[in-house]
Symmetry: C2
Amino acid sequence: MIWAGDKMDFVAPVVVGVATLSQTMEDGRTQMVGLLLPSDFIGRPGREIAPYNVNAVSDVTVCCFRKRPFESLLVSTPHVGQRLLEMALDELDAAREWMLLLGRKTAREKIASLIAIIARRDQELKAALPDGQMSVELPLTREAMADYLGLTLETVSRQVSALKKDGVIQLEGKRKVLIPDMDVLLEETGDDTDGGPLI
Amino acid sequence: MIWAGDKMDFVAPVVVGVATLSQTMEDGRTQMVGLLLPSDFIGRPGREIAPYNVNAVSDVTVCCFRKRPFESLLVSTPHVGQRLLEMALDELDAAREWMLLLGRKTAREKIASLIAIIARRDQELKAALPDGQMSVELPLTREAMADYLGLTLETVSRQVSALKKDGVIQLEGKRKVLIPDMDVLLEETGDDTDGGPLI
DNA sequence: CGTTTTCTTGAGATGTGTCAATCCTCGTGG
DNA sequence: CCACGAGGATTGACACATCTCAAGAAAACG
């Protein structure tokens, strides 16, 4: 959708679909740095040049605002600014969680964490299956998962297979994952298990 | 200064000194997720519980505001909110740069990047030495550097030695680094070298 | 000084990356 | 309907970067 370095004279919240933010080094190594879901913003006030690549994962609908009018909207309607601040701080927290994952987790923990993150997000939409099982659709290819997690796609594939072999997950086709016991999966993420949700 | 899980009923910009934000896993692995410099905020509106550990690197002076009054200030003074939004978005960009470093850079590139980041920050304060050289004071121990970079302190030590042996940097004591040629250091970071500053 | 912290260096283990071959799964066109 | 091809996924063998464990050296500090 957008290449790093492009001129951006608009901001645009995602309305439908999923897009990714990523950075690429000269030799091709790429790291995903953000996942844009509906209501997330592409672009930001006070910046002319896009610093990251934006890729559509699925078909995406966005809602473009020219930047200049949007910036004056910010000034005239404080409520909008407050909402944006909330969102930015939430994204910052997500980024920090992600930094722990990238810097300190093992490949297996990374995969388990990713599945848990997606599962948690889906959980908010549709209820879990009756018996504590959960089924999630991975919206990403193995390569995209690798770029998200700071791994190679081969390692992703191996660890997914390993988790399957150990009974932590089951596969239905390539992209669908069945989680027999969420607690077992959470054990594998390396995160605190007791931690209640932070307010 | 603060442990993750603590109740926080205030927000506090740093006035003097340097502090770090970090997360720790049950088995002790820790990852630094933020560096708080003067003007950066500890705590955020709309959150009761501290999600991260805050550690003072040097003596730190902060300026505490009770959260409730501060939140009403946000509502009544839009300008403050806009400034906070700017800062949050800048931090988000920094976090994303950091994610690329954690996920995709080699140990040597990580070290070079860290030194370059600190050098750039210092550069804004005091001018460079005449002949293109630069001298920077590392405010961090090897262990803190390791937690910042997602490495072990042994690897940090080895890579610092390697950069010294290769003439990229020189050491004056343990904590002071002399950079004979900034461009050579930037080569080692793996970043785009041609990139002008993004606006 | 002695003690403690911080840093350096080595040897070996190990997790992840690299390179390469093969296998699915689908969609396309003969 | 089937062969074919392309993109994605899996698996294996091996290389290598980083971690782990351990011993010392150097600096900081009372």
